[in-house]
Symmetry: C2
């Protein structure tokens, strides 16, 4: 196959689309050919938080595409917070139950010279408690495109998403603020005095597991369990990493207790996370008697974006 020139860069095959994962803090862009093969990529800290200040979305996008020598007419598919209220252009939430491989039908386009399609987020409004996601629905589209159409998906992180997927449709989902609470509590609450900043890297397995068990018990109280971490530092001599691991175990255990209706009855939980975080959730889920397995999440959002690109372009 001969090289294709666009500007100064030679691509092995012609670029078919640019795929953008545009979150609150980061922007990641892939140039792909029509088979979805990555030709080049770029990433930066120009997330929605930075870009929404002076509505710099168009400028930032073009600057990144220039650096990748993308053709001026190349279409761009965007997922994430760039489509939130206050983002580039609001892509209103699709509502559960929702087929994730049809979300592209509700994409919106900002006023821009180049064709740009911003995918909607997903909300739960009338079929369950209020909940929202923006970005994860495109990862789930990647899961479905990868062949898993029915199952329970757990996506740990700042705001952990638990998803009940059936025949390619998100039937219901819930969010737990586990990651955000961990950061706030470890760094800014009284527990910061018990958790040195460098103590998060390693896990004290015994402390983590004991905390998961404690948090999964009926009658457990998170606000009380948390303070006991501080008291333990004052009254005993915890090993290094013990306080941080106990905090992590209490928060994850409490999350699992709250989400147990997703995995009761022997359903397998498919975990989408970085290896370290997936390892913790796998351990905790196994501990409370659930079946769990990690899912390779590295390319899911790109796969979901590419599936939308094939439908839209």
């Amino acid at each position: 196959m001969s090289a294709v020139e666009t500007g100064v860069v030679a691509f092995a095959t012609p670029p078919f689309a640019a795929l953008a994962d545009w979150g609150t803090s980061n922007l990641r862009i892939w140039l792909v050919d029509e088979k979805g093969t990555v030709l080049d990529e770029a990433q930066s800290g120009d997330g929605m938080a930075v870009c929404s200040r002076d509505n710099r979305f168009a400028t930032v996008l073009e600057s990144h595409l220039d650096s990748l020598a993308a053709p001026k007419s190349l279409p761009v598919i965007v997922a994430g917070m760039a489509g939130a209220r206050g983002g580039w252009r609001e892509a209103p939430y699709a509502e559960t139950p929702s087929a994730v491989d049809r979300l592209y039908e509700q994409a919106v386009s900002p006023d821009h010279a180049r064709p740009v399609h911003i995918l909607p987020g997903l909300c739960q409004k009338t079929t369950g408690p209020f909940d929202v996601m923006r970005g994860e629905e495109t990862q789930i589209a990647g899961v479905v495109a990868g062949g898993l159409a029915t199952g329970i998906i757990c996506m740990p992180g700042t705001h952990c998403k638990w998803v009940d997927l059936e025949d390619g449709k998100v039937q219901r989902f819930r969010t737990a603020m586990t990651g955000e609470l961990f950061d706030l509590i470890a760094k800014q609450s009284i527990l910061r005095l018990s958790i040195p900043a460098d103590e998060k890297a390693e896990t004290h397995i015994a402390a983590f597991e004991a905390a998961v068990t404690e948090a999964f018990l009926p009658g457990f109280s998170l606000a009380t369990g948390l303070f006991s971490i501080r008291a333990a530092t004052l009254l005993s001599s915890p090993a290094p990493h013990e306080a941080a691991s106990r905090l992590s175990g209490l928060l994850i255990g409490a999350e699992l207790a709250g989400m147990r209706n997703f995995f009761e009855g022997g359903k397998t939980v498919h975990i989408v996370a970085s290896p370290a975080l997936a390892g913790l959730y796998l351990r905790a889920l196994t501990q409370v008697g659930a079946k769990a397995e990690p899912l390779d999440g590295s390319a899911l959002v790109r796969t979901g974006l590419f599936a939308a690109a094939k439908a839209l372009i």
Copy 2:
């Protein structure tokens, strides 16, 4: 009774002691006569956090006593964080079960020209989960001195204390980080986008009550309930104060659920808090079927300090 002169100030009766409530953020000092009548008082933001930097406890105390024209030999009784590790001088915790009217026996004195007695805090170590208090035990001594020797005491605040008091002894206690979590979450989590800074003053009663009920249900998950507050802002049009009141209701409801073993079986909960906070707890406790009544907490710590002064001087 003739006026007594000390320095330039005339007291109606001679000062018997200075009583100091020395917390993390504030210092409050009362000059009392031998009947406990307040002759004069002072307060400032010179709490333990400020004073421990250069060990300024002695200087700060003398400066306040000078401003009150206290005699140079007047004894001082101190309760609170000034007796913590890293405070003026550590007063090691007394351990549950513990008679609060005998805590003065474990008071310690820093190396200082004037007689100063720092009362110990209270810990739970072998008879229940690790827990600590420092300052509240002296309020409880005030409760006992006021005539209530047996009962359940709930002390809402940054770190809410629940206490099982029996014949003047603290049998067991637990701490919930409710107030600290409210502040962190309202001001620094994603919920800050749903809770304007001025929205905490008023309570949206219906939202508060619905949240208490929700949080008291079995299977409730705090981390998930919290995110639903953010989702509700995005998907509906909450009334002013609704998000903050819902946050307050979820946190207090979850606290009550975790503490229900204190008030099960029809025991009355005696609430020690500012009128606004006591009102919220009273409402929430009544709602979940508990008996509750506010206790006048304004002079409790002073009463407890004075009881110790009578024993020590």
